[in-house]
């Protein structure tokens, strides 16, 4: 052999390092994956305390002006609202009219906003178009509408360029005590704000009619605010509905002579939005404040907004602030053990050097993990956790504040106290936001919360992800290198001057990529199937799920027939093995690229996807060979593969998760359909992702049935391209604005470089 004669010249260190890593890819991938998971578990310990980054906010620098007088008026308002319940229903908008009357008495500009909640219609191309263009023509029955009430207080000396939005969802058909209280809280603040002179931004109070869902009402209003329709389309509907017109016919002819304007009132660019909800959970200890922040596709509001709420609630009004947690995790044994382990490690470390701060109490750790998990889950799912999600679609920072009073609020004194403190909290937040000269930009947009006062920033959590996916390119490279070597050694053995073969050797991956692409194409076809299933009338979730499943399997076989034919000539198992290695390496590269892109768009989806996909990718082996060899290790690997694919199959994952949290007895196949349907409705990136895993499983199934090991790695390919599709989609929706910015930055770089 040529290599043995003269030692090859030593390569440069970086190349040697690369070769070293590739040649030890197995141990390297084990170490990296373990480190990735460990780093994820370490995140609560690495979390930093939040701090208010924007100096202009100055939370709590002024004494609250909300007085008992305001609260008394709010009480009157609450009483009037609740009294409406006992009255006979008239035209159905008594509550709106009452609210409007109260707003008008405060000198606010009032208008009604009637809307038809958009029907959640899955549209295949909706993913690839901007969210704005989702206006589908609607044939709506008259009964299916809601009426929002909007009051606007103009800043006395402001220029009206910016506005702050207060949202209070309530059910106009049946007003509960808690909802009335949330309205009362907002009313007390609004009445104060209509008198103060310090306002620089207009205040919009949106009382959203949540009888068709809280989100629908808010998003309908936002849509009309930002993308109004000027054509006659929906007014035709309104004219046919007598009760809607009735809304405007009965105009109150009060002494002020001001009528309720029937147009749409606006107040400039929105600076921030607060959704106020009161729930009657009767906490035993303290008044609670829950903060919900996750918007669609894992977008978060600026951390400063959460910070000021947290600061004011804790340090000024004495609320107990909470962020959503996965409660089931709190009781888990292994987490507690892990927390204790970390705690003891921290103690050891601090005994070595007291300056090293490492480790937190085990209880804190468990809570942090639970919060982190819920935050990851919500971000990954891409479904907003409340009406605030609608604002993020228009680049407005918004959060939901869910207040829950201690004990019950039946007692009037207790209720007054609650209203006063809730009102003062909101007043303080508005005062801070009002101070802002620029929109929120100082603090983080990419973060995970581990508690209301602690966060993990993007620089820290990306390490865990990077460690997790680092093995993929390494293993891909080593597989590829092995395959090439195998090829060349074969050629040498044959000693055939197979010149065209060696020339084509470097193009092997093109063939594999073609295969991967075809499988992805199939995946996208399957992801479009639900659109056609939706067209079928009178379907139950279970039926549609089964149809979908059958169609997917069917289309898989069709694809398999087409795809299998070009392979039929490959007989030699060694050659087959080589092809398989190249295919796997291409698949892994695609996975890697897809996951990395995804992590830029929605970290949580990428992280959870990585946790599922990376082990699957690394362990995948042709089954037939495993079975043929029949040793313990290969059989265990086979079993592992099968189990992992089963878990990775979305319906199974869904069922498992649901079972873990709610118990297995209430499970129905149709649930999955409902869940997927809800994901479309939010045009969640996760939907596509789930589709991706679904095909993966489908492919795997197909391969097991036909016992044809060749198609096995196709399943890996599928999910990857779906990931890519998903990236393209999210790219349009989420990244494009950033992209413009990036391009601009590059431009600046060039300009600056030139000037240097």
């Amino acid at each position: 052999m040529a290599e043995t004669e003269a030692p090859r010249p030593r390569q440069r260190p970086i190349v040697r390092l690369g070769i070293f890593l590739i040649s030890h890819s197995f141990s390297f991938s084990v170490v990296c994956c373990t480190a990735g998971v460990l780093a994820l578990l370490l995140l609560p310990i690495l979390a930093k305390n939040t701090y208010i980054s924007e100096n202009a906010l100055m939370p709590g620098s002024a004494n609250p002006m909300l007085s008992n007088q305001d609260v008394l008026e709010a009480n009157r308002f609450v009483k009037d609202l609740i009294a409406l319940n006992s009255k006979p229903r008239g035209s159905g908008i008594e509550s709106q009219r009452l609210i409007a009357q109260y707003m008008k008495d405060l000198g606010a500009e009032v208008n009604y906003h009637k809307f038809h909640p958009q029907i959640t219609q899955f549209h295949p191309l909706q993913f690839f178009s901007s969210p704005d263009s989702g206006t589908v023509e609607r044939n709506i029955s008259c009964s299916f509408h809601g009426v929002n009430t909007v009051g606007i207080t103009r800043a006395p000396r402001g220029d009206g360029k910016e506005a702050i939005v207060l949202v209070t969802p309530y059910n106009s058909q049946k007003i509960k005590q808690a909802e009335a209280l949330s309205l009362g809280t907002a009313y007390s603040v609004f009445s104060l704000l209509s008198r103060v002179t310090w306002l620089a931004k207009d205040i919009i109070w949106l009382v959203s009619d949540s009888q068709h869902g809280e989100y629908a009402a808010v998003s309908a209003w936002l849509r009309d605010y930002h993308i109004p329709m000027f054509t006659r389309l929906h007014t035709v509907n309104a004219e046919t509905c007598p009760d809607i017109n009735y809304l405007y016919d009965v105009r109150d002819n009060s002494v002020t002579g001001r009528k309720i304007y029937d147009g749409f009132k606006r107040a400039g660019t929105m600076a921030a939005a607060l959704v106020i909800k009161v729930v009657d959970r009767s906490e035993t200890f303290d008044d609670n404040l829950n903060i919900y922040a996750e918007a669609s596709n894992g977008q978060m509001p600026n951390l400063d907004l959460i910070n000021i709420v947290n600061y004011l609630a804790v340090h000024r009004q004495g609320f107990r602030v909470k962020v959503e947690k996965l409660w089931s995790l709190l009781d888990s044994k292994w987490l507690k053990n892990l927390g204790e382990l970390f705690e003891s490690v921290g103690q050891v470390v601090s005994s070595i050097n007291p300056q090293w701060k490492f480790g937190i109490p085990a209880a804190d750790y468990t809570e942090g993990i639970a919060t982190l998990a819920s935050s990851l889950y919500n971000q990954a799912l891409g479904v907003p956790t409340g009406p605030h999600g609608a604002f993020r679609d228009y680049q407005v920072d918004a959060i939901t504040l869910e207040l829950s009073p201690r004990a019950s609020v039946d007692k009037i004194i207790r209720q007054n106290d609650f209203l006063l403190r809730g009102g003062r909290l909101i007043e303080g937040v508005i005062l801070s936001v009002n101070n802002l000269l620029e929109k929120f930009h100082q603090s983080f947009f990419l973060y995970l919360l581990t508690s209301p006062g602690k966060f993990v920033s993007v620089g820290v959590y990306m390490i865990a992800f990077a460690l997790l996916v680092a093995p993929l390119p390494m293993v891909a490279a080593s597989l590829y290198a092995d395959a090439i070597n195998l090829n060349s050694s074969q050629n040498n053995e044959k000693t055939v001057a197979d010149e065209p073969g060696t020339a084509l050797r470097s193009l092997k991956w093109v063939n594999a990529a073609k295969k991967v692409f075809v499988v992805h194409l199939w995946g996208s076809v399957v992801s479009l199937l639900p659109y056609f299933i939706c067209q079928i009338p009178n379907r139950s979730p279970t039926v549609s799920f089964i149809i979908w499943f059958l169609l997917s399997v069917l289309s898989f076989f069709i694809m398999f027939l087409i795809l299998a034919s070009p392979f039929s000539h490959a007989k030699e198992s060694q050659l087959h093995l080589r092809e398989w290695a190249i295919l796997k390496s291409v698949t892994m590269s695609a996975t890697f690229i897809g996951l990395c892109l995804m992590s830029v768009i929605n970290f949580s989806t990428a992280e959870l996807g990585g946790l599922l996909l990376v082990p699957m990718c690394l362990m995948a082996q042709p089954m037939r060979r495993d079975i043929r060899v029949g040793s313990l290790s290969t059989l265990s690997r086979l079993a592992y593969n099968l189990v992992f694919c089963l878990i990775g199959f979305p319906p199974v994952t869904f069922v498992l998760l649901k079972g873990a949290f709610e118990g297995f007895n209430s499970i129905n196949v149709g649930d999955f359909w409902c869940w997927v349907e809800s994901l479309w409705a939010w045009s969640s990136a996760t939907y596509l992702y789930i589709e991706g895993i679904l095909y993966l499983f489908g492919a795997e199934r197909g391969s097991t049935i036909t016992r044809n090991s060749r198609s096995e790695e196709a399943y890996l390919a599928i999910c990857q391209l779906v990931l890519l599709i998903l990236c393209v989609d999210s790219f349009r929706k989420v990244v494009h604005p950033h992209m413009v910015r990036t391009v601009r930055m590059l431009n600046h770089c060039i300009v600056l470089a030139r000037s240097l």
């Binding site: 043995t4 030692p7 090859r8 010249p9 030593r10 390569q11 260190p13 040697r16 070293f20 040649s23 030890h24 141990s27 007088q69 008495d105 405060l106 000198g107 901007s130 704005d132 006395p156 000396r157 402001g158 220029d159 009206g160 360029k161 002179t197 930002h226 993308i227 109004p228 000027f230 054509t231 007014t235 009060s254 002494v255 002020t256 002579g257 001001r258 147009g263 606006r266 400039g268 660019t269 070595i352 228009y394 680049q395 000269l437 620029e438 929109k439 930009h441 070597n485 604005p737 413009v740 910015r741 601009r744 930055m745 431009n747 600046h748 770089c749 300009v751 600056l752 470089a753 240097l756």
Partner: protein, 669 residues
């Protein structure tokens, strides 16, 4: 003792001389004397607020007649006019928004004095075309110094425009610019007051208590200058300087728990309660010093209406109080005159004007006008024919649209003859300036009337567009739309792309967004003149003369805030880092290529490989071979290079250094 008579004599002589001089001058022309008059118009507003409109007018005769010296007229202003040959100029500083819906938009006060937030400046020059821009630049700097404001930012060509016909009839020599973000405060008011002969020391201007007027809901100080036009030989014919201050104030009222609205009185107020001061006599230099109280047409009609219901009570009141009280309210000072509006066409009751002369009041008997309501009354102000508002559409940093929406206030039907209503058209003139980084596509103009899209040719009567030029000039659009009088609502939309600025063009608060200045909406067929009485003597009162001018109704829309993409401003640092790295890489590899000798290197490596193979390294390579489970004859396989990567020396060195570091850290500190 002899001194005093002498002094008296001199004084007398002086006075006589002056008299003589002045009478001589007066004989020549009526306007030859410099005049100053001060007036204040008060008007209750429907939403429990009070409008106070100060109007000061200073006239200077042509310079030819009295040289360069002035008695009353501010010299700074006259020099300004002389130097830049200003035909007409208006500068306004405004804080807050005029609420067109509640405070009205039709009569002369809002039409002339409701201004966009910030600074607005326009000027017509009497110079050749090519000099206009230079004059404008100099003027902005001069005004900026005079009024302590950053008016000089209007100097750059990206911030002003030259409207043809959309804003003002004077074409060619008109320049128009706004600074929507300019904050207005006392530092701007003080130089403005300095132009008054009595400043705020005496007369009506003494009412301007800073905390009270800046506490208001709207505050606009305006300076309007009319050089009466230069003749062909360069002799000017006098300058008129109008200074107005329009404030909307809320009278103090006790906060009562909100009860049913039916019993809610309008707040009663007096000058003391809204300004905290009284007028103690007029400014002695003023020719006239008058305070007016105006009651809106609708208010008068409403009062009359109420009066009809309670006939008897009214009779008593009139007998008892005379002019001092109308039905439903009472004034604390007897008015000198009550003027009634002469209105021809509209069939409503005329607006009432109570005239009070301040001259007869003095320190001992200050003037303190008060208005006390006796019955609750509600009315609304007269609206402009359409209520215009402007808003942004779309989201994201890429593109958007500007929409101007018009809501009919039904005035047009009421004003125009009802028989011609079907065929009549309502022209609306729109003047809109857009900064260059908002790239408006004028071809995307769409007009919807009553929620139906109209062909542009049907609606647009006349249009003139000067597109923006990047970093040179703003885009400007002048347009006349013709709407049917029956129309309920209309919307005009224009799409735009958001542009990019260079990094040093961003203002310090770039993340706030960028302003699109107010659009000017005017209605050429509607005139905002109000005429009080046919009496010629009334024309001597400047504010009434102003009311009578036949100006078309003008309103301004909101200022819009467009968020643009902003770079990370710490980026220059990153750029420097990246650039340096690239340079280092470039020079490093270049040097490497230049000084490397391949043959020598290979020889060196060979000799090194031959030497290789200490006992420790062999042991280590065996160990690593065992660990990886590969055969020991690794030197042949490609992995040999990798296992030799860990040279024993290197490991030894690393361990040594680490050990020293640990020891040093824990034991030597």
């Amino acid at each position: 003792m002899a001194v005093r008579p002498l002094r008296q004599f001199l004084l007398l002589y002086l006075i006589l001389f002056c008299r003589f001089f002045y009478s001589n001058a007066a004989l020549g022309s009526v306007t030859d004397e410099e005049e100053f008059s001060e007036e204040l118009l008060l008007r209750p507003l429907p939403d429990r607020k009070v409008l106070a409109h100060f109007h000061f007018e200073t006239r200077a005769p042509p310079t030819a007649s009295n040289g360069r010296h002035h008695h009353l007229f501010p010299k700074a202003i006259s020099q300004l006019v002389q130097k830049f040959r200003i035909k007409e100029m208006e500068l306004s500083f405004t804080q807050g928004r005029w609420n067109y819906e509640r405070w009205g938009g039709f009569d002369p006060v809002p039409s002339n004095n409701a201004k966009p937030p910030g600074v607005e400046l326009w000027a017509v020059f009497d110079v050749p075309h090519y000099q206009v821009d230079a004059s404008w630049k100099n003027l902005t700097h001069a005004l900026s110094g005079l009024f302590c404001a950053s008016i000089n930012f209007l100097e750059s060509s990206t911030s002003y425009s030259a409207p043809q016909w959309g804003f003002h009839s004077a074409s060619g020599n008109l320049r128009y610019g706004t600074l929507p973000r300019e904050a207005v405060c006392t530092e701007n008011l003080t130089p403005w007051l300095k132009l008054l002969p009595c400043r705020d020391k005496a007369g009506i201007s003494a009412l301007m208590d800073r905390p009270s007027i800046y506490k208001g809901f709207y505050h606009s100080q305006r300076l309007h200058l009319t050089g009466k036009g230069f003749d062909s030989d360069g002799v000017d014919s006098g300058i008129v300087l109008q200074q107005t201050l329009t404030v909307v104030l809320q009278p103090n009222e006790k906060r009562t728990p909100v009860t049913s609205l039916e019993t809610k009185f309008q707040p009663s107020w007096s000058l003391t309660s809204i300004f905290g001061r009284k007028v103690s006599g007029s400014c002695v230099l003023a020719k006239s010093s008058t305070v007016y109280l105006q009651l809106d047409r609708d208010l008068v009609a409403e009062l009359k209406n109420l009066q009809k219901h309670n006939e008897i009570a009214v009779a008593e009141n009139v007998n008892y109080e005379g002019l001092r009280s109308g039905y439903g309210f009472q004034l604390s000072v007897e008015p000198d005159k009550v003027l009634e509006e002469v209105n021809g066409s509209h069939g409503t009751s005329p607006s009432l004007l109570y005239v009070f002369s301040v001259e007869k009041h003095s320190e001992s008997e200050p003037f303190d006008l008060g208005l006390t309501w006796k019955i609750p009354v509600a009315w609304s102000c007269q609206q402009a024919p359409l209520h215009a508002s402007r808003f942004l559409m779309g989201s994201g940093n890429e593109r958007g649209a500007i929409a101007i929406s018009f809501e009919s206030t039904r005035l047009s039907e009421w004003l125009l003859h009802s028989d011609a209503i079907d065929s009549c058209e309502l022209p609306v003139k729109i003047f809109q300036v857009v900064p260059w980084y908002i790239k408006v596509y004028y071809h995307t103009l769409q007009v919807y009337v009553d929620e139906q899209q109209q062909a542009i040719s049907d609606v647009v009567d006349k249009i003139h567009v000067s597109p923006s030029e990047d970093k040179v000039s703003p885009g400007m659009m002048e347009m006349i739309l013709k709407f049917p009088c029956r129309m309920k609502s209309a919307v005009a939309t224009l799409e735009f792309d958001k542009g990019f600025l260079h990094i040093d063009e961003y203002p310090p608060d770039a993340n706030q967004g960028f302003d699109i200045p107010s659009a000017v909406i005017s209605y050429p067929d509607f005139y905002s003149s109000t005429q009080f009485g046919d009496d010629k003597s009334l024309e001597a009162l400047p504010i009434l003369a102003k009311f009578q001018e036949n100006n078309s109704v003008v309103s301004y829309t909101e200022v819009l805030l467009v968020p643009l993409t902003t770079p990370d401003f710490s980026m220059p640092y990153n750029v420097i880092t990246i650039t340096c790295t690239i340079f280092a890489l470039y020079f490093g590899s270049l040097l490497n290529v230049l000084r490397r000798r391949v043959g020598e290197e290979e020889r060196f490596l060979k000799s090194k490989d031959a030497k290789k193979g200490g006992p420790i390294s062999q042991f280590l390579s065996k160990l690593s071979a065992k660990l990886t489970g590969r055969p020991l004859e690794t030197p042949q396989s490609p992995t040999s290079t990798s296992s030799s990567f860990i040279s024993s020396k290197l490991i030894l060195k690393v361990v040594l250094v680490a050990g020293i570091a640990i020891v040093w850290h824990f034991y030597l500190e």
